[in-house]
Structures are given as structure tokens and as C-alpha cells.
């Protein structure tokens, strides 16, 4: 009997663990180590953040699902990896620290034959003074990164709406809270939901809404921009995004590294090196992401964290980390099997793997401050990586192969993104975007770097219905309800 340990029970880890469990049969063990007791469909946090859904609608408890599936669930966080075991026992293991009430703080060593790191991002609020401390959100701004954050954001929003009803103008600032953020899509979706909600509440004319972003142009999305097939043109996402903001009378600030947050005010450095300020009554700023801070040691206790992880804390995989300058970057730099080069029984999926480089063009201010989006690893690619690695590991555990048998490269897969405003079936609106491939490949697609037949964008009710359906089918799938394996990632 062999044991697969999955660290992280989010989008990619849950996908990996459930597919592996389904395919491994009784002969092998699957263990999930994750500090959260509930699974969260994170994309719908946006709706929680404007009162369109309750927290309960976007989360469910993991324990009964894992019990039914036959997965050994440890509500704990992984702390360190020991891929060579210890002096007197060669079996690799990880150390974990329990987070559930009964065992909180207790530590344990957990051996593995195969290990999947799906620990996602550390929400690094502490990187910007005033945005928060470490992984804790500060008092001046709100967030929608977790369901609890989103619930809090909605309370603050309600307070602002009340003030506007009483004749007090309010300034809204939504965007990225640091020059090296990713996840612009979430901020983009949230600002449209804020605008939609204010309109529905009849107070839109009392609000000034501004988007602040580290992108050098609207619609970069950390993917170096996209050209969509639209109305007979290959239309830039810049035009697409700007049009959405202009139509709604919203302003934008580009190329901004927010370097300080205070009560009612952010200070930011622009790509031209200027320092500026923006006042707000309500601000939702996405924090930068980093790896969760796992450590790694050899059997004699030597710290090899730097060998296994990149400086940003994400785990090294089969990517080309020596691609050099932007001009030399290729789609083939991106990892395919997601296997760690030093330890072949260790994999990393979703946000936890270290990208070879960013996707957008690197930029910095004249003061040398880097201001550019870092690469997004959204839900669909994260889940696809989870499934591909699960399939590879299953084949390896069953002795069918000694090498990974499946690949999931962001340069060979697409992403679908639906940004929806409002919740009413006929009053909502949404932008549906598909991108193929995620990493532009100018060798294969010399024009825009992407396949224009697979890269599209459109607005309307239909996209909004798709978003509703995605919410329900992904929660259905994550709960392992009948037919879950047939639902695509």
C-alpha cells in the first residue's frame, strides 16, 4: 500500500485528492492536510461582498465529504517537508500542525510516498504598510479573498450606502494593493458588482468609483493583455476593459504600486516615478501573493528550502527558471508535468507552483520599484493541473509508469473567465472571456500570440447565466454528488 499526501484542500488540492481517491481503489491511501474546515467556492465571494449571496451559500464542511470518499482528512497546516526522511528512516515525511479545536497546536509527522503541494497563496497583506499584518487584513481596507473577508466587505458597503442615502458622497477605490499583485480579475469583477449594487440601491450618483491597478494598461490581467475576436476585429482587451469602465463612468489609475495605506487614503508610486495619493471611504485592495512559507530539510537536517522553493516561496517544478530577459521568454518555459526537479515524487499544482517568470512585460519605475502584474493561476487551470497530476501519480502508484503520464501546461491550456455583476437572472450582466492558450505563444500564433478562435470576449445576460450555473455545478462537483467526475474542471 502506498500513500499520497495532498497539502491544501482548495481548488487544485481538492480536485487532485478526489480524482486520485476515485481512481486508486482500496489498495492505496489518500490523505489531505488542510487548515480549513470548509471548502470555499472563491469566485462567488464577489457576490458575498455585495450582499448578493450569504457566506453559507459559498462554503460547505469538508469532513463529511472526505469521510464519504474515504479520504483521510487532517485539519492541519503543513509546516515542513523532509523528502529524504530522517537518519534512521528513509521514508519521506511532512510535519503538520493541527488547526482544529480538539487538537489545535499539536504536531505530527506524516509519511508519504507521493506528495502534492496545493497550498495556494499566502495572502501577503503585510507587504504593504497599513494594508495588514502578515496574512491578516488591516483595519483600513476590505478584501474578498476569503468568504469571511467578503462578508465583512459587505457590512462596510452597507454602511457606505446608508451614508449616501443620507446625502454623504462616498469615494470607492478598488484594485491592487501592491505593485506585484496578481488576481486583477477579482478586483475587476468586484468593481462592477459595486457599481451595479449602487445603481440598484439608487445611490450611484452619490459615488465616485476608481480602479487602481499595477497593470500598465487596463485589460493586461497579468497575461500581457489579450486580443479577442469581436465584431470582425481582433480587439485588444485594453479597448474592451476601458469601454466597460467608461460606459459606467468609472475612473482608473494605472501602473500603481500602493506603498502605504492609512485611514481613508492610499499613497502610491506610478510607473513614471511620481508619488501620489488617492482618498477613499471604501477600499478593496487585493494583497500580493506569496508561497505559504513551507520549509524543506534533508535527512541530516540541512535546510534545503532554497533548493525546492523559489525565493517567493512557490515550489520549483519542471519549468525553465533560466529563461533570462523578456525577449527570450518562450511558451515552452512553462512547466508541463509539475514535478519537482529534485524529488520526483513531489509535485506542485495551482498557485503553489513557481512560475518560470511573469507573463506581462516586466516594468519598473525610475526609482527601480517593480510595478507589474504577476501571473494569474485562476480556477480552471488550477483544477486542470490538480487532475493531471492526480492521473500521473495514480499511474506511478499503480506501477504503470515511473514518469508522469499526464501534462497540464498553461501554454497548452485555455482559461474561461466570467466576470458577472448583480445576481438577478434578468437584471445582472456579465463579461465572458475565453483565452487560449493562457501563455501567449508567438511561435505557434504569430499574430496576437493566441488562437483567435479560442480567445473571445462578450457581454450580456448569457454570460451572467453561465456564471450562475458555474457556481452551482462546481459546488455540486466539489461535494462529490452523483456524476461529479463528468463535470469538467
Amino acid at each position: 500500500m502506498a500513500r499520497l499526501v495532498v497539502m491544501g484542500g482548495g481548488v487544485s488540492g481538492h480536485t487532485a485528492a478526489t480524482f486520485a481517491r476515485d481512481m486508486l481503489g482500496e489498495d492505496h491511501e489518500v490523505v489531505v492536510v488542510t487548515p480549513n474546515s470548509q471548502w470555499n467556492w472563491i469566485p462567488s465571494n464577489i457576490w458575498v461582498g455585495v450582499g448578493g449571496m450569504t457566506k453559507e451559500e459559498v462554503v460547505f464542511p469538508l469532513a463529511p465529504v472526505y469521510e464519504k470518499a474515504g479520504i483521510d482528512y487532517r485539519q492541519a497546516k503543513a509546516v515542513s517537508i523532509h523528502p529524504e526522511g530522517k537518519e534512521d528512516a528513509e521514508t519521506p515525511y511532512i510535519t503538520i500542525e493541527y488547526t482544529d479545536e480538539a487538537k489545535s497546536g499539536e504536531t505530527e509527522e506524516l509519511t508519504y510516498d507521493y506528495l502534492i503541494n496545493a497550498t495556494g497563496p499566502k495572502l501577503n497583506f503585510g507587504a504593504t504598510p497599513g494594508l495588514g499584518e502578515g496574512t491578516n487584513l488591516g483595519e483600513h481596507t476590505v478584501s474578498v479573498c476569503t468568504a469571511d473577508h467578503a462578508e465583512h466587505a459587505n457590512h462596510e458597503l452597507e454602511a457606505c450606502i446608508e451614508k449616501m442615502r443620507n446625502g454623504e458622497r462616498q469615494a470607492f477605490l478598488i484594485g491592487t494593493g501592491h505593485g506585484m499583485c496578481t488576481c486583477q480579475g477579482a478586483a475587476f469583477e468586484y468593481i462592477f458588482n459595486i457599481e451595479h449594487t449602487l445603481k440598484e440601491q439608487g445611490v450611484r450618483d452619490m459615488a465616485d468609483i476608481t480602479f487602481i491597478t499595477n497593470e500598465s494598461f487596463l485589460g493586461d490581467f497579468g497575461m500581457g493583455g489579450i486580443h479577442f475576436k469581436m465584431g470582425g476585429f481582433a480587439t485588444s482587451s485594453k479597448v474592451f476593459a476601458e469601454s466597460l469602465y467608461a460606459e459606467r463612468g468609472m475612473d482608473w489609475i494605472l501602473g500603481a504600486h500602493v506603498n502605504k495605506v492609512e485611514a481613508g487614503k492610499v499613497t502610491y508610486e506610478s510607473l513614471d516615478g511620481e508619488m501620489d495619493e488617492q482618498e477613499f471611504d471604501f477600499a478593496m485592495l487585493i494583497p500580493p501573493f506569496a508561497g505559504v512559507g513551507l520549509k524543506a530539510f534533508t535527512k541530516d537536517g540541512t535546510d534545503i528550502t532554497d533548493t525546492i522553493f523559489a525565493p517567493n516561496g512557490f515550489m520549483k517544478v519542471d519549468a525553465n527558471y533560466n529563461a533570462g530577459a523578456y525577449e527570450n521568454w518562450k511558451a515552452s518555459d512553462w512547466p508541463r508535468t509539475l514535478q519537482n526537479p529534485s524529488y520526483k515524487n513531489v509535485f506542485a499544482v495551482g498557485i503553489a507552483f513557481a512560475p518560470p517568470h511573469i507573463i506581462s512585460k516586466p516594468m519598473s519605475s525610475p526609482n527601480g520599484t517593480p510595478i507589474n502584474p504577476t501571473p494569474p493561476r485562476t480556477g480552471m487551470p488550477s483544477a486542470m493541473m490538480g487532475k493531471a497530476v492526480a492521473l500521473s501519480v495514480v499511474d506511478m502508484m499503480k506501477g504503470k509508469s515511473t514518469e508522469p503520464t499526464h501534462t497540464a501546461s498553461m501554454s497548452e491550456m485555455g482559461a474561461a473567465c466570467v466576470a458577472s455583476a448583480g445576481k438577478g437572472l434578468f437584471s445582472g450582466t456579465a463579461a465572458a472571456m475565453t483565452v487560449y492558450p493562457i501563455i501567449p505563444d508567438f511561435e505557434k500564433y504569430p499574430g496576437t500570440g493566441r488562437d483567435l478562435n479560442g480567445t473571445t470576449g462578450e457581454l450580456g445576460l448569457a454570460a451572467h447565466w453561465v456564471k450562475h450555473i458555474l457556481h452551482h455545478i462546481f459546488i455540486w462537483k466539489a461535494k462529490l454528488k452523483p456524476g461529479w467526475t463528468l463535470i469538467p474542471e
Binding site: 469601454s243 467608461a246 491550456m413 487560449y436 479560442g454 445576460l461 448569457a462 454570460a463 453561465v466
Partner: protein
């Protein structure tokens, strides 16, 4: 003639440099019949994308 669908845009402001949807475009975005067609189209498009992405 002024369009009732396009509010005043300050010349030379960033908003001035992009396209603004007008009546026909806005109507189609919320026309239920047309959106049912688009719903089918988006689903087909996403299915193709998923099939192309699995290796």
C-alpha cells in the same frame, strides 16, 4: 444629434479614448431571445476550450 445612450465624455480624458456602446448593442446584451442563442454559443465555446486543454 446627441445620443441618449452616451453620456458626456470629457475630451482628452482616458475615457475619451475608447468605444462606448450605443442603443443597439445595449439592447442585444439584454434581449432574452438573443441571449439564449449566445448562452448556447458560450457553452459550446467553453466545451471546445476544455477539450483542447486536456492532454
Amino acid at each position: 444629434m446627441a445620443s441618449k445612450h452616451v453620456n458626456h465624455i470629457e475630451p482628452y480624458s482616458p475615457q475619451f479614448g475608447t468605444m462606448i456602446p450605443m442603443g443597439g448593442q445595449k439592447f442585444m446584451r439584454t434581449c432574452v431571445l438573443w441571449q439564449i442563442v449566445r448562452f448556447v454559443a458560450i457553452n459550446i465555446r467553453m466545451t471546445i476550450l476544455i477539450l483542447k486543454s486536456h492532454h
